[in-house]
């Protein structure tokens, strides 16, 4: 792959990752694509779901790379991961600002008292070290431990989908779909790990 080709692909990914934000803006402030009755609730939910989508897309990079042989896909992984962190941070900000109006006592109590908020908060906190160590220089500095640290993404994804599953009345089957996709993505890793072990035994 040429350098310019990758650059172009990255530009498209940037645009695609920012599109949900632009779409939200157009809907809320310009009534394009339908009227939004409650901007706060719409923002909270749309942004949270976008963050979760990007988290699953990040996890889909490796399976896609293996299945298609398109190795350059891995060079987009950090971008997806950081955008996921960006949206989930915005989601938390919306919760603190739009949902609870900076009432810190209630915010703190809510995070402690409601299990779905506790696990959501935990997922976001666990993402911070991954975002901080996402640069190439950190990757080099941490060496083997970098890969170990970044395996946290599996736990984070489980917590994220779990948070989504628990967050409201069980009126939609969307969380089930998310859980199914996550199961496939994690199942792929388990299957590959098992394959690798088989190969090692065969050759050893």
């Amino acid at each position: 792959m040429q350098r310019w080709q990758l650059g172009l692909i990255k530009a498209v990914v940037w645009a695609a990752c920012l599109a949900p934000l632009a779409w939200l803006y157009l809907r809320i402030f310009h009534q394009i694509g339908g009227y939004v009755a409650s901007p706060s609730i719409e923002i909270l939910h749309t942004i949270g779901k976008t963050g979760l989508n990007l988290l699953l897309i990040t996890l889909a990079v490796t399976p896609l790379r293996v299945l298609t042989g398109l190795n350059w896909l891995v060079r987009l992984r950090r971008l997806f991961g950081l955008f996921s962190f960006f949206y989930l941070s915005l989601h938390f900000s919306a919760f603190v600002w739009l949902d609870l109006g900076f009432r810190w006592r209630i915010i703190f109590a809510e995070i402690v008292l409601r299990p779905y908020l506790t696990i959501g908060m935990l997922a976001l906190l666990l993402l911070i070290p991954l975002a901080v160590t996402s640069t190439r220089s950190m990757q080099r500095r941490l060496g083997r431990r970098w890969a170990q640290l970044h395996r946290l993404i599996y736990a984070i994804a489980i917590l994220g989908v779990w948070h989504f599953w628990w967050h409201g009345k069980q009126t939609s089957n969307e969380p089930v779909v998310y859980a199914g996709i996550l199961a496939l993505l994690l199942g792929f890793r388990i299957w590959r790990g098992w394959q690798r072990r088989q190969r090692r035994q065969a050759s050893g």
Partner: protein, 331 residues
């Protein structure tokens, strides 16, 4: 529970010429300003053909808070008979046929029977009341309703002293309501109040909002509005009112505590989340979220995040109904 056939018998239909004449009379009287609809004995309320109610008497108790835009109040709804998404009712409720409409009155009352909506409305004077509406999901609106006190209607059925509770049933017709295919609730939607709550002067029978006929997604043609309770208590599109001496089952109590034959819709769904009383109470958290704060949908951005008040700010008017009652236990 099976629902009786509530189609109107031919004998119950008001002959068309009588009915048209009545409308002409009302319209004419309104045009001449003879029917200001505000005097207690002003009569002949009806669903206006043009969709707009004439001059409505402003009610003295109306809140002066900024009203929710009609566009928001009619596009962000919980009306599960049309789907569980907030925009489903606005999208699908046009299949609801609101005329002809009748209400069946049953139970502990002397004048039970099936009444045409026209006859139900006729003797009442419509007023505009701006109420706060607090949803259990932690958002709220301010809505100018058009209606009349439910007590005035219920009294006409002459409830007996044995009538301790009043049940309100929403229409459940699979042909008009796609949401009924889901079994998320135990259809028909049933809500209920104690007779004292149902007769309280704040409890409204609403036929309109924002000076217009109720949009279908808001519970046309006639609905209940109980402003000090979470929104789901205010049953929409009422087809049956029943007076009963039997108390409702409350899921959180043990099965041995009998004496009930019925249960309200959301209490059936999750008893620890949605109680029978369902009074707005910031001190009683929903198991999954605090009820101390609410997002006021008022057309601005960001919407104000405001402190929820006990009984949704109507404590002065209704607190006496619950004197000595543990409001956490009896949530």
């Amino acid at each position: 529970m099976t629902r009786k056939d509530n189609r109107i018998k031919p004998s119950e239909i008001t002959p068309e010429d009588v009915y048209l004449n009545r409308r002409k009379l009302v319209a004419g009287a309104m045009a001449m300003g003879l029917l200001p609809g505000c005097q207690p004995d002003a009569t002949a309320a009806a669903i206006p053909e043009g969709g707009e109610f004439g001059d409505l008497q402003p009610w003295a108790g109306s809140t002066s808070e900024r009203s929710t835009p009609l566009e928001a109040a009619s596009s962000f709804n919980n009306y599960y008979e049309f789907g569980t998404g907030k925009d489903d009712p606005a999208r699908y409720a046009d299949t609801l046929v609101t005329s002809p409409w009748s209400i069946e009155v049953t139970g502990e009352a002397d004048r039970t029977g099936t009444y045409a909506l026209e006859d139900i409305l006729k003797p009442h004077a419509l007023e505009e009341r701006v109420y706060r509406l607090r949803c259990v999901e932690r958002w709220s609106m301010v809505i100018p309703w058009v209606g009349f006190p439910m007590a005035d209607l219920l009294k006409r059925f002459e409830p007996r002293s044995s009538a301790r509770f009043v049940q309100f049933y929403t229409l459940a017709d699979r042909e008009q309501m796609p949401g009924l295919r889901s079994n998320i609730l135990d259809w028909p939607y049933l809500e209920g109040l104690t007779i004292e709550e149902a007769m309280h002067p704040l409890t409204l029978a609403a036929v309109g909002m924002y000076g217009k006929v109720l949009p279908n997604q808001n519970g046309a043609p006639i609905r209940l509005v109980v402003p000090w309770k979470y929104g789901y208590k205010s049953a929409k599109s009422i087809v049956r009112i029943s007076f009963t001496d039997e108390r409702p089952r409350i899921t959180t109590e043990s099965r041995s505590e009998g004496g009930w034959t019925w249960q309200t819709a959301w209490n059936w769904y999750a008893g620890n989340e949605y109680g029978f009383y369902s009074n707005v109470n910031p001190n009683r958290a929903h198991p999954r979220w605090s009820q101390q704060v609410e997002t006021r949908i008022d057309g601005t951005f960001p919407e104000p995040s405001i402190d929820t008040q006990l009984f949704n700010g109507y404590a002065e008017e209704v607190a006496h109904l619950y004197q000595g009652m543990d409001l956490i236990k009896n949530h």
